[in-house]
C-alpha cells in the first residue's frame, strides 16, 4: 500500500439533482481520497451517472456543495472541471466520430497552440499512448475503432490533460474480460501515481478485484457509509445495492418438451460488408426449451438473429416456423406468425426513443383491436395495457407523456421484453438480453425467459455471457466463424469446455 494523504480529493455534501421532478440524486454525500480507487455501486437508474456528471461539471446540482482538494468548487461546465483536474470517461463515449484520434485528443485542450499541425498532435498522441501502455493509431478516425480502442482514447485524453481525479462510468460494460483486466491494471497504475479514481460498476467481482472503498447508491440515495472493499463480501454488497438478499434465477429441467417449432437448414447470411458471416448453420428449436447460442462476439450471432427476425435476407438456406417455410417473408408477417425478437441495441432497434413508454409497449400490437379501430388508435387501450405492463414488469422511472428515452438502460430493456413477451408467439429470439443490466433487472429478465419456456415457447438465447447461458439453456450450441462447432446438453456444458469450443478448438468425436 502506498502512502495515502488524508486531505480528500473530493468532498461532496448533500448533493441533489432532479429531472422532471424525479430525484436522480437525493442528498448524497461522497468522499474521494487521493490515491484510492473508489467504486460507485448501484443498480441501473440508481443515479451513478448523474452523480459523476455533476462532479465532471456537466450537470449542475440543484443543491449541495462540492470541495476539490479542500477548495470550494462551482463548476459551470466540463471546462471548469478540467481546470480543477477532474476528467471523466462517460458511459456513452464523448468522442467525435468523424475526427481522428489525435484531433479528439486535443479538442478543447486549453494548452494547444492556436495553429496546430497534424504531425505534431499525432506524435504527442503516440507518445502518451506508449507511456501508459495504451497504444492507439493517432490517424484513425473514431468510427473505425472498436469500442475497446475508443475507450482507450477517452482515457488517454484525460491522462494527457493530466487529470488528478478520473471518473470511469461503467467502463467495462463494453469490454471483453481480457480488455477489462488490462483496464484494471491501468486503473491501479493511475491510483499508484497518486491520482484518485472513481469506478462506476454494478459488477461485484470487478469491484472486489480493483477498488479500495465502495459507496453504494440506491434510488438516488447513498446507502450507509462507504465501506472498505476488503471488509465486504459480494453478497453484502449486492444486498446493499438491491435492498434485499438476491439470488439470480436458474432453470429447472424442462418438462414439456414439444415439437420442433423453429427449424433452420444450411443458412448462409452476409454481414454489412458483404462477407458471409453465417456459413451454413442448421439448428432446431423445440417448444418449451431454451437453446443457447454461445460464441465470442462477431462470429455471426448478429446476422443469424437478423435472418430469423426477417431483418436480413439470407443468401442460401431455409428458415421454417412450425414446418412452414418463412425464409422470404417480411418482418411484419413474421411478427404476425409469432416470432418475437429482443435486440441487443434497445434504442436503436427495439424502441422508438421519442415515443412514450405506453406507445412503445403497444408498438407491435397497434395494427389490431383493441389497440386500434380501423385507422384510428384507441388511446385508452394503450394507457391501460401500458399501466398493467409497467406494473407487472416493474418498469421504473416512467413519466406519463414523456419519451421513453429518459428511462435508464435496465428499465428500457424490461419495457422491450415486456412488449415482446406479451405478444402471442411461438418463438422468441433474444440477443444478450441482460447485457448492461444490474442484478435486479437481470433476475427479472431471466424469469421472463424461463416463464416463456414453461409456457411452451421455443427460446433462442444468443449471448456472450457464459453464466447466463449456463443458467438458462437446456441445450447449448457454439457458434464459431459462422458455423456451429459444438452442441452440449445442459448436463455436459461447463465453462471450460465451452471456452475451448468458443475459441475454435473442435472436439474430437469419439
Amino acid at each position: 500500500m502506498t502512502l495515502r494523504s488524508e486531505s480528500p480529493a473530493l468532498d461532496l455534501r448533500g448533493i441533489s439533482k432532479a429531472f422532471y421532478g424525479v430525484k436522480a440524486n437525493d442528498d448524497v454525500d461522497f468522499e474521494l481520497r487521493q490515491g484510492e480507487v473508489h467504486a460507485l455501486l448501484g443498480e441501473n437508474g440508481a443515479g451513478k451517472s448523474t452523480l459523476c456528471s455533476i462532479i465532471a461539471g456537466l450537470y449542475r446540482p440543484d443543491t449541495g456543495t462540492m470541495h476539490v482538494y479542500g477548495e470550494p468548487a462551482h463548476f459551470r461546465s466540463p471546462k471548469d472541471a478540467f481546470a480543477a483536474g477532474i476528467g471523466m470517461v462517460y458511459q456513452h463515449f464523448r468522442l467525435v466520430n468523424n475526427l481522428t484520434v489525435a484531433e479528439n485528443m486535443v479538442l478543447g485542450n486549453a494548452d494547444l497552440r492556436m495553429r496546430y499541425s497534424d504531425v505534431d498532435i499525432e506524435r504527442q498522441t503516440h507518445e502518451i499512448g506508449n507511456r501508459y501502455g495504451l497504444p492507439v493509431d493517432p490517424q484513425a478516425r473514431i468510427w473505425q475503432l472498436s469500442v475497446g480502442e475508443q475507450q482507450r482514447v477517452e482515457i488517454l485524453k484525460q491522462l494527457q490533460r493530466n487529470a488528478r481525479i478520473l471518473i470511469l462510468d461503467e467502463p467495462t460494460a463494453v469490454l471483453t474480460p481480457q480488455e477489462s483486466d488490462q483496464l484494471f491494471r491501468t486503473v491501479r497504475q493511475m491510483a499508484d501515481e497518486g491520482r484518485a479514481v472513481i469506478l462506476v460498476s454494478h459488477k461485484l467481482h470487478e469491484i472486489k478485484q480493483v477498488s479500495d472503498r465502495v459507496t453504494v447508491l440506491r434510488h438516488g440515495r447513498r446507502v450507509g457509509e462507504p465501506v472498505a472493499t476488503a471488509d465486504a463480501t459480494p453478497r453484502e454488497l449486492a444486498a446493499m445495492m438491491v435492498g434485499h438478499d438476491l439470488v439470480l434465477p436458474t432453470r429447472d429441467p424442462n418438462e414439456h418438451l414439444g415439437d420442433v417449432v423453429l427449424s433452420i437448414q444450411d443458412l448462409r447470411v452476409r454481414n454489412d460488408r458483404g462477407l458471409e458471416a453465417v456459413r451454413g448453420v442448421s439448428l432446431d428449436v423445440r417448444r418449451g426449451e431454451i437453446v443457447g447460442i454461445a460464441g465470442v462476439a462477431g462470429n455471426g450471432q448478429r446476422e443469424l438473429a437478423y435472418a430469423i427476425a426477417g431483418l436480413r435476407r439470407p443468401v442460401a438456406g431455409t428458415i421454417a416456423l412450425d414446418g412452414v417455410d418463412i425464409t422470404g417473408t417480411s418482418v411484419t408477417s413474421r411478427i404476425a406468425r409469432g416470432i418475437g425478437y429482443v435486440p441487443q441495441n434497445r434504442l436503436g432497434m427495439g424502441l422508438a426513443p421519442g415515443l412514450t413508454t405506453e406507445e412503445n409497449l403497444g408498438l407491435k400490437a397497434y395494427r389490431k383491436p383493441p389497440f386500434s379501430r380501423g385507422p384510428f388508435l384507441v388511446p385508452k387501450t394503450f394507457k391501460d395495457v401500458g399501466a398493467q405492463l409497467i406494473d407487472e414488469y416493474d418498469i421504473r422511472g416512467v413519466r406519463p407523456g414523456l419519451p421513453i428515452r429518459l428511462l435508464s438502460g435496465g428499465n428500457l430493456q424490461k419495457a422491450l421484453i415486456a412488449r415482446e413477451v406479451t405478444q402471442q408467439h411461438s418463438v422468441l429470439v433474444a440477443r444478450s438480453p441482460t447485457r448492461g443490466l444490474d442484478v435486479g433487472a437481470t433476475g427479472a429478465v431471466r424469469n421472463l425467459l424461463l416463464r416463456e419456456r414453461d409456457g411452451g415457447v421455443g427460446v433462442l438465447l444468443i449471448s456472450e455471457d457464459l453464466d447466463e447461458l449456463l443458467a438458462l439453456s437446456d441445450r447449448l450450441l457454439v457458434l464459431f466463424e459462422g458455423r456451429i462447432v459444438g452442441e452440449l446438453t445442459s448436463d455436459e456444458a461447463d465453462p471450460a469446455r465451452l471456452g475451448l469450443l468458443m475459441a475454435g478448438h473442435v472436439e474430437e468425436t469419439a
Binding site: L58, V96, L99, N104
Partner: protein, 314 residues
C-alpha cells in the same frame, strides 16, 4: 484575346459569383457549427439596403460595406437567439428571418426622403488596376482586373479554409457541428461557438448583399438580389461545406447567370425568361443529386446540423 467570349464570360462569372462567395462561405461557417440558417436571403437584402443607405448618406463605399456587415450580423442575432438559446426549430426561425429581412429592406428602401428606391448610387467600387498588368492576356482580366471586394472574397475563402482545417478554433467548430455533446464534454463552449458563427455568417451575407447594391447593380430596388440567398444555401451543399469548393461553385453559378448574355453575343437566340431560370434549375438538380440517400452524410454535412443542443437533455 481578352475580349473573346470565353474570357468575358469568366470575368463576368467572377463578378456575379462574388456575392455568392461571401454568402456561401458565411453559411458554411454557420452550418459547420451545427446551425442551419435559412435566413441568408433576408440577411443579404438587409446588408444590401444598409450598404446602399450608408453610401448614399456619406458618399463613402467603404462605410457602406461596413454598414452592410454590421447590419447582416445584427439581424442574424435574431436567429442565433431563437435557435441557440430558445432552441426553436431552426428551419422555422430561418424562414422567418428571410421574411422579416425582406420586409425590413423594402421598408428602409422607402422610408427616407428622398427614398433610396430609384436613387442612383453616389459611389461604387471599380477595378483597382487599370491598364498595365490588368491588360495582360488572360491573367490580366481574370486575376488583376477586379475590384477590391473580389480580392477580399478570395481572402475570405482562403482564411475560412485555413481556419476550419488548421486552427484549434476550427477544430472545435467542426466538433461542435458534428457532436456538440462530445465537444461540450471536451471543454468547448458550444453556445459561444454557435452564436459566433451565426453572426459571422450574417456578416458575410450582409457583405454579399452589398456587392449587389454597391457594385453589380448599383442602386436599390425591392428584391434587388433575386434569389441569391437561396442559391447560396444550395451552394453550401454543392460545395460540401468546404470554402474552396464554394468559390468555384459560386463562379459556376455566376456563369450560369450570364448564359443569356453569352448566347446573345454568340448570336444564338433563346427565350431569356427560361435562361434566367438556369441557376435555380442547376441548384435544384445539384441538391437532388448530391443529397439523395446517404450521400449528404458522405459529403460532409455536419452530423448535428439543425439539431439544438441542450446539455442536460437525454
Amino acid at each position: 484575346m481578352n475580349d473573346s467570349v470565353l474570357i468575358l464570360t469568366i470575368f463576368a462569372a467572377i463578378g456575379l459569383g462574388t456575392p455568392l462567395v461571401f454568402a456561401t462561405v458565411g453559411e458554411i461557417l454557420t452550418e459547420r457549427s451545427g446551425v442551419l440558417n435559412l435566413g441568408v436571403q433576408g440577411m443579404m437584402l438587409v446588408g444590401a439596403v444598409a450598404g446602399f443607405w450608408a453610401t448614399f448618406k456619406t458618399g463613402n463605399v467603404f462605410l457602406g460595406v461596413i454598414a452592410a456587415i454590421v447590419a447582416g450580423a445584427a439581424i442574424s442575432l435574431i436567429h442565433g437567439f431563437s435557435s441557440v438559446t430558445l432552441r426553436v426549430s431552426q428551419i422555422v426561425s430561418g424562414l422567418a428571418l428571410t421574411i422579416f429581412g425582406t420586409g425590413l429592406s423594402e421598408f428602409i428602401g422607402r422610408a427616407g426622403t428622398p427614398a433610396l428606391v430609384g436613387s442612383p448610387s453616389r459611389a461604387t467600387f471599380s477595378p483597382i488596376l487599370e491598364g498595365g498588368i490588368a491588360d495582360w492576356p488572360i491573367v490580366g482580366p481574370l486575376i488583376f482586373g477586379h475590384d477590391v471586394l473580389v480580392y477580399l472574397s478570395w481572402l475570405v475563402v482562403a482564411g475560412a479554409s485555413y481556419y476550419l482545417f488548421h486552427t484549434k478554433l476550427g477544430l472545435s467548430l467542426r466538433a461542435v457541428g458534428e457532436d456538440p455533446a462530445s465537444a461540450d464534454a471536451a471543454g468547448v463552449n458550444v453556445t459561444r461557438y454557435r452564436y459566433a458563427h451565426v453572426v459571422l455568417g450574417g456578416a458575410l451575407s450582409g457583405l454579399g448583399g452589398a456587392y449587389f447594391s454597391l457594385v453589380l447593380v448599383p442602386s436599390w430596388q425591392d428584391d434587388l438580389i433575386g434569389g441569391a440567398g437561396w442559391i447560396a444555401i444550395a451552394l453550401v451543399i454543392v460545395a460540401s461545406w468546404r470554402p474552396w469548393r464554394a468559390l468555384f461553385a459560386a463562379y459556376l453559378f455566376g456563369a450560369a447567370g450570364r448564359v443569356n448574355f453569352t448566347l446573345q453575343t454568340l448570336e444564338i437566340s433563346a427565350p431569356s425568361n427560361l435562361l434566367a431560370m438556369i441557376p435555380f434549375v442547376l441548384a435544384i438538380v445539384a441538391m437532388l443529386v448530391l443529397t439523395s440517400g446517404k450521400r449528404a452524410r458522405l459529403l460532409g454535412a455536419p452530423a448535428a446540423l439543425g439539431v439544438p443542443y441542450a446539455r442536460e437533455q437525454r
